[in-house]
């Protein structure tokens, strides 16, 4: 059943059409949720919630944007709401530390990191760092760098300007870079400590 037909039938309450739409998009939505929250149980819950909201509103879908964009907008909103609710204080603190583009606040300097990330980071490190990003940055990073959406698509999904999407992505990457450097420095420190204590035992 083609997607357009499934949408039309789902608007009339057809169970098979709902299932078809779910099967067409569930992997992408689940994957987005999984990368955003880093926890399978929560990702399952959010996937269900996103589809539930979608199906509740499906009668209002008029096809002004692509169905997948509409669905992703809902999914991103569901995840962001959850993340913001979960760690309101933590999130607002994180976001407050980021310079405001509009107000011309100071930009973060590149600095001169003492360790190179190339060859030192893996999926686990990166996922951990992504989990520490503020929700807005995390969404843009996952959509662009993980899922491969273009800025114009992200702008539509997140209901923001293309420039805003680019700026958020840049800040997300900069923050990730810092987090990854921090973790590399911590690891190097631990290694030194372990080597020191092993030497002391000899």
């Amino acid at each position: 059943m083609p997607e357009a037909e499934a949408i039309r039938l789902a608007q009339a309450g057809n169970a098979t059409a709902f299932e078809r739409l779910y099967r067409l998009h569930n992997r992408r939505v689940y994957s987005l949720c999984l990368r955003m929250v880093g926890n399978t149980a929560e990702a399952e819950d959010l996937t269900q919630e996103a589809f539930l909201q979608l199906f509740r509103k499906i009668a209002t879908f008029r096809g002004e944007s692509a169905f997948s964009t509409w669905l992703h907008r809902l999914a991103v909103n569901v995840v962001l709401m959850r993340l913001r609710k979960k760690s309101a204080t933590e999130t607002s603190l994180d976001e407050m530390t980021e310079p405001d583009e509009e107000s011309g606040g100071p930009r973060r300097d590149f600095g001169s990191p003492d360790l190179r990330l190339s060859g030192s980071i893996d999926r686990v490190n990166l996922q951990r760092a992504v989990e520490k990003l503020p929700p807005g940055y995390k969404a843009v990073f996952v959509l662009h760098d993980v899922q491969g959406y273009e800025h114009n698509e992200i702008a539509e999904i997140m209901e923001c300007s293309i420039g805003n999407s680019k700026s958020q992505l840049h800040k997300a990457r900069m923050r990730l870079r810092e987090l990854l450097h921090e973790s590399l420095r911590d690891k190097a420190r631990e290694d030194r400590k372990a080597a020191g204590s092993a030497g002391g035992e000899d």
């Binding site: 309450g13 930009r107 800025h151 840049h170």
Partner: protein, 224 residues
Amino acid sequence: MATISCRDFQTQHEGTNDALRDVSAQAHIRDCASCRSFIEDLGAIRSVAHSLEPADAEPPARIWVSLRAQLEEEGIIRNAAPKSWFVERFGGWFNSLPRPALAGAYLCALLAIAFGLSGPINARINRQRWLDGTESSTTPLSAHLMSAEQASFSSPVASESPVTASLHKNLEIVDNYISLCENSVREEPDNEEARDYLYGAYQQKADLLAQMSERRLNAEAPGQ
């Protein structure tokens, strides 16, 4: 050649992957170790980020089952089949039956379901339908058996007798057997033999619970 500043370089690079096509940006990173390291780091992040996208992240089947149930409950799915024929047909009946009849009723219901679902497999029905069909009949069964089990355990009567202890031990074994059978059915939902074993296991549990229920009723009866 005059190159751009680090700040301009950063602005140019903001949120894009192709800033380095610009000649002035290329010249800048040749001379600036800090920006070179920045570009290398972002490249490393991007390349690992691509690998974060799972190639085949199929969400578990229970999400659709639960979603569908919710959609039916809210009336969003309007042409759905009855949610559970077993519960609709027998739910109220179970509750109104006296306890001794209940114990026997488990057996009758189990046998009827096992007989009905172990019929010839229609080749056109796919695995998911088998799984959904099996789950829609086993879920209410499992719930009813669990509540009967809780009733047996909560009874203070004869709880210390060796026979009761043995029945409880057997119940544990049967529960393990049921979970093994459930796993087999989930792996091969259209395997008739696996489903037969599962219904057989439920039947054994119903047998045990019926025995336990009878013992409890005999012990509770006045004058005994």
